[in-house]
Amino acid sequence: MGMFWELLPEAILFGILLGGFYAAVSMGLSVSFGLLDVPNVAHPAIMVFGSYCTYLLAQQGLDPIVAGVLLMPPFFLLGMAVYRFYYEAFERRGAEAGVRGIAFFFGVALIIEVGLILAFGVDQRMVEAAYVGVAASVGEIRIPLRMLVAFGVAVVLTVALTLYMSRTFTGRAIKAVAQDEPALRLMGADPVRIKQWAFGIATGVSALAGAMLIIVGPVEPALDRVYIGRTFAVVVLAGLGSMTGTVAAGLILGISESIVLMQFGASWAPAVSFALLLAVLGFRPQGLFGR
């Protein structure tokens, strides 16, 4: 037990960095699923797709973070197209859209995953940058610089998105759609256009999240499967659509995963997010900061 207390500060510090990263990769889902109610189980697959796009750009000598930022506009357009298609095919027809909507996004995730396998093979890919593979020392604890970089980007992304949602007209409109769509319609606004815009933002953010994913560690096409659990656990634990909640939930997940990793080994770590998710669904489905 003495070992446990000795290693705990390091595990918690690492968990905080990891948690910031988890919050950032869940931001897109927090908008698309949390606010818009779109059962986007393809979110992690789109993110991994973003990682591979980053990989291709990084091969041309671009910095991975720059690559991630450059990828945001095309992913924004991709997201708008995906939502338009989803709306025309399912949401507009109303009834029974639930089952088919979920199955649709599941199929999309599958196609992306296999497409990546066909294009890149099942081998792991990673990027080179000055901050990958270097560690900074804080006292006796060594922190990999790539985790710090990802954490920094995560903080910037979270602050930017929170400000956008609360300060700008479109951001407030997105929140309004989430709160009361019929009311918005009665006031003469077009909820579909706002949702399309919001889904575009969610997907654009996923591109940057994908870039961070490949900075933090090597990426393989099937990686989206673990991240389905992590991202949905964070969004549900947060209480759907709450940005502050997303950060808090990300930190909770990151710290618990880090402690389990230290105490029981890597083979138990993937189950942490899913167990947390099941516990939240079973005992507090409205999440920590539920609306």
Binding site: F106, G107, V114, S267, L281
Partner: protein
């Protein structure tokens, strides 16, 4: 009456095929096709009738397979008892998962079932006795006469399970339980308001569906003489179990059967002739096309065609 005749014909066909076909590979491939018939039929009880998407097929299937493997390792239990134990364990898992998450909206249940798969896989990776991450080699016993090969015997066992699964699904579909489940799918609030015991029906469907999936997994360790976590809890089982009813049609018991026969046969052919990746891609593309363009599946398309022909005939007269 017609259904029981159909069942008898299916059973007779199974017996004839088992008696006449000489290629061992036919039984090897046929087993997989029949297994997907069971999985798709089981999935459809909750997913098709009640409209609750279950991504957790590998969790139930894998728990069934591991129950059988561990019991065989510990006590050399006969196959029939392995299957019964596997169905019981998977049914209990369905009960627990259902009680925990079926109160919530469909999407939460769907995500919770993905969680089940990962948790199950993690548990068995870390369980030494069951072989851990490297797996467990199992020695097959001799086949029971009149079967001369074990694979053929498993083929027939799976065939019998497929017939049983379809009979159960059809019984549920026609009974008040099925009507209740359909009411839940159409509008859960309305069903609840009209006195349908929604939670109890959903949990019941989840238990039956899970037990059938577990039963389908039970012969798997014997089929491969081997079991290991990564392939046992593979998400491809979830894909097959979900895509088959979606493609065949979810409203009728025949939908998953048609879908699974088509999809699993196609997959067997593509896997052998082209590659495993292309085969998964094919399923994904087919799934999306059918969901978008033909939401009622092949059965719906056939009904539409029949109606069109009938009205044309009327017009000609």
């Amino acid at each position: 009456m017609r259904f029981w005749l159909g069942t008898a014909i299916a059973a007779a066909a199974l017996a004839t095929v088992a008696g006449t076909v000489k290629y061992e590979y036919f039984f090897f491939a046929g087993y997989t096709v029949l297994m997907f018939v069971v999985l798709a039929t089981a999935w459809n009880i909750l997913g098709g009738y009640a409209g609750y998407v279950n991504f957790g097929t590998p969790a139930f299937f894998g728990l069934g397979a591991y129950t059988a493997a561990v019991l065989y390792k510990a006590t050399a239990l006969p196959l029939a008892l392995q299957i019964a134990a596997a169905a019981t364990m998977a049914g209990l898992l369905g009960l627990a998962a259902g009680l925990l998450t079926l109160r919530l909206r469909g999407i939460f249940f769907a995500i919770a079932t993905i969680a089940l798969v990962v948790i199950m896989e993690t548990v068995f990776i870390n369980w030494r006795y069951a072989g851990g991450a490297t797996g467990l080699q199992l020695l097959r016993p001799a086949p029971i006469p009149p079967f001369e090969s074990y694979t053929k015997m498993l083929f027939v066992v799976m065939g019998v399970m497929a017939i049983a699964a379809v009979a159960i699904a059809r019984y549920i579909e026609r009974s008040w339980v099925g009507r209740g489940l359909r009411a839940i799918r159409d509008s859960e609030e309305a069903a609840e308001a009209n006195g349908v015991p929604t939670l109890r029906l959903k949990v019941f469907a989840c238990v039956v569906s899970g037990a059938l999936m577990g039963a389908a997994g039970a012969p798997m360790p014997m089929y491969l003489s081997f079991i290991e976590p990564a392939s046992t809890f593979n998400l491809n089982y979830a894909v097959g179990a979900l895509a088959s009813p979606m493609i065949g049609g979810t409203a009728h018991w025949a939908g998953p059967v048609i879908g699974a026969m088509l999809l699993a046969s196609l997959q067997q052919i593509v896997t052998v002739t082209v590659s495993n990746e292309i085969n998964v891609l094919l399923v994904g593309v087919l799934l999306v096309i059918f969901i978008v363009a033909a939401p009622e599946g092949i059965i719906g398309l056939a009904q539409k065609l029949r109606r069109k022909l009938a009205s044309r005939r009327k017009a000609a007269r």
